[in-house]
């Protein structure tokens, strides 16, 4: 702190610190505290707010466990997000390994650019692109029927499958970059040394590359899982009524049910789930917060 004052002078440093404090308190801590407070209060008409009925209770949280449909969707969201995370990992690890260790630097730069370009386009538009691809009269069905693989068009967007495909696509970068960063620092000689000692490629990955990439894998999995669990656009566009996501229920509480208190409780449950997932990943991969922050 004294260092900052010496370097930037009193006025500027005070301004910077004030802005950071404002940002943390006003934009991060207060809204969250407000939501926590909301989640424990009953949903009352304006005239009764602050009255004798306005007491804190766990009632809003209990709702989830009494509503069989919501509970099913909650667990569906957990496993589907886990599946999205897993598939994204399977897709991204070879890609990251290729970019970090196999491709020449110029090729790596080209490929990274190609990976990033689609993400200059809004997420909703990209999701719509998949909607078009999977549409009943869309190009995928057209191709498959033309090739004779399908007799008649298939209704792709009737289950969770397309939602998962759309999410894997949407979150590829969040998985590729952490793993790529981790693998890039892997000394090529270690791979060569393992090869030289007789190791096959599977073992090189299992014993050398993947352990080295662990912090990157953990970071990628955490990011992907949280984004998947908290995604709204992809399930809303590519999903069907039968493949609803937990975020859609939260949205409904807020904007259609008009029950912010109930929505806040659901949102808190989702937040707790994500925190739990982070801790689980850190435990599973035996990495600390410092490793992930890298």
């Amino acid at each position: 702190m004294r260092d900052l004052y010496r370097r930037f002078g009193g006025g500027l440093t005070t301004l910077m610190v004030a802005l950071v404090v404002f940002w943390i308190i006003m934009l991060v801590v207060l809204p969250q505290l407000l939501m926590i407070d909301f989640s424990f209060r009953p949903n009352l008409p304006p005239s009764k707010i602050g009255g004798p009925d306005d007491v804190h209770s766990w009632a809003n949280y209990a709702t989830l466990f009494r509503n069989q449909v919501h509970l099913t969707i909650f667990f569906k969201t957990i496993w589907a997000s886990s599946l999205v995370t897993f598939i994204t990992l399977i897709v991204c690890y070879p890609m990251a390994y290729y970019l970090a260790q196999v491709a020449k630097p110029q090729r790596t730069a080209q490929m990274l650019l190609l990976l990033v370009i689609p993400f200059w386009i809004n997420e909703i538009l990209r999701t719509f692109a998949w909607w078009i691809i999977f549409a009943y009269a869309g190009p995928l069905n057209g191709l498959l029927t033309a090739l004779g693989i399908l007799d008649q068009p298939f209704r792709w967007m009737s289950g969770n499958g397309v939602v998962i495909v759309g999410m894997v696509y949407a979150y590829i970068l969040f998985m590729v970059f952490p793993i790529y960063n981790a693998l890039e620092s892997l000394d090529r000689n270690q791979i060569d040394a393992a090869r030289d000692l007789g190791s096959g490629w599977l073992r090189v990955h299992r014993r050398i590359a993947i352990p080295h990439a662990k912090p990157g894998i953990a970071t990628g999995c955490i990011m992907t899982f949280m984004l998947a669990a908290g995604s709204y656009a992809v399930p809303a566009l590519l999903g069907s009524p039968g493949s609803r996501w937990f975020t859609e229920i939260i949205y409904n509480w807020f904007f259609e049910g008009g029950n912010w208190n109930q929505g806040a409780a659901y949102a808190m449950i989702l937040l707790l789930l994500c925190l739990f997932f982070i801790l689980l990943m850190m435990k599973l991969f035996r990495v600390g917060l410092a490793d992930i922050a890298k």
Partner: protein
């Protein structure tokens, strides 16, 4: 006895660039063999060709008489010590050493036993549970050797493994490497740009320059009878006198140089009329007045006293000269800017061809 390694007209091209230009030689089983040359001479490429990380564009590498073409690094009877050692930082020392055995499906208890034996061999008993980062530079070096020896290779390839160590440790490790090689009988192929390492450790040394072999010889031959101007200049210091051979006299020849007609050993049998360079080691140049046949006058430029000997830098008739005078207790007083009469015995100098094309 371990297997030999043969290079048969090996050529390695990377696009337009030819890194190895047709090299043939045989490294005997159980030999300590060094490739010596400046960086970029192709010596590391040779190592990669033997270890299997590269396959030659032309020619063949044979180990124990078997062609290695198309056989990957993981299938060859070689093990490599990398320049930066490349120990696996996330594995314990014992797991590092036993990695090659793990690959070969050796059971856990047996692996641990072998690792402990090798730790004894490299004088690090009981250190198996440490992580590589907890060891000193010299200890890591020894672990890398143990890891390579664990797979019982026929040939051990070493890529300048001592270059990261400080001078004292480096000298200690030279003796240790030599000792391990003698005890295990494994063929050692050592890559270095440090002539001191090559001369002190090797049975034979191959001097390389720009993808070609300059000379393959024992360290002493290399020092006393260089085959090319490059070998003469790269291995040890040499004073050079360029000129033309004017007469042949048995095993000797006379070369006309700016320093006069100099007589030296013609160990390569060069013919009269050829452009040649007379090479004299600094310690073989003598202060004149001792009746040597090849006498000339140089001008003393500077001197540095090293204790057991005295180094003189002088300007001779054909460029700078270096003279090393042994401190025998009777060093003469030198005129700081005066004339320095020098000379050498014909038997103390050799003649090499002026062009480097003798490979």
């Amino acid at each position: 006895m371990s297997q030999n390694v043969e290079l048969d007209k090996v050529v390695m091209r990377f696009g337009e660039f030819t890194a190895v230009k047709g090299i043939s030689l045989e490294i005997k089983g159980g030999e300590f063999f060094s490739f010596l040359g400046p960086s970029g001479c192709g010596k590391t490429t040779i190592l990669k060709l033997i270890s299997g990380f590269l396959d030659p564009t032309e020619g063949e590498v044979r180990i124990g008489g078997t062609s290695m073409r198309g056989i990957g690094a993981n299938k060859r009877p070689t093990a490599m010590i990398f320049q930066n050692l490349a120990l696996f930082p996330l594995m314990s020392v014992a797991d590092n050493i036993a990695f090659g055995l793990e690959v070969r499906g050796v059971g856990k208890a047996e692996r641990r036993k072998r690792a402990d034996e090798l730790l004894d061999l490299i004088a690090l008993p009981g250190q198996g549970d440490k992580m590589p980062t907890e060891l000193s530079g010299g200890q890591r070096q020894r672990v890398a050797i143990a890891r390579a020896l664990a797979v019982e290779p026929q040939v051990l390839l070493l890529d300048e493994p001592l270059s990261a160590l400080d001078l004292k440790l480096r000298q200690h490790m030279r003796a240790e490497l030599r000792d391990i090689q003698k005890r295990t009988g494994v063929t050692f192929i050592y890559i270095t740009h440090d002539q001191g390492e090559a001369l002190t450790m090797s049975d034979r040394v191959a001097v390389m320059s720009q993808g070609t072999l300059q000379q393959v010889a024992t360290p002493q031959e290399l020092y006393d009878e260089p085959a090319t101007a490059f070998a003469a200049g790269f291995v040890g210091e040499n004073n050079r006198f360029a000129g033309t051979i004017s007469a042949i006299d048995g095993g000797f020849a006379v070369v006309d140089t700016p320093a006069g007609a100099l007589k030296a050993r013609n160990h390569l049998g060069l013919a009269a009329g050829a452009s040649a360079i007379v090479c004299v080691r600094p310690e073989r140049l003598r202060l004149s007045g001792t009746g040597s046949e090849n006498g000339f006058i140089a001008r003393l430029k500077s001197r540095s006293f090293e204790g057991s000997f005295l180094n003189l830098m002088a300007e001779g008739p054909s460029g700078e000269l270096m003279v090393q005078v042994t401190n025998d207790g009777a060093l003469p007083a030198f005129d700081p800017a005066g004339a320095l009469p020098l000379g050498f015995h014909a038997t103390d100098a050799v003649i090499v061809p002026a062009e480097a094309g003798h490979a």
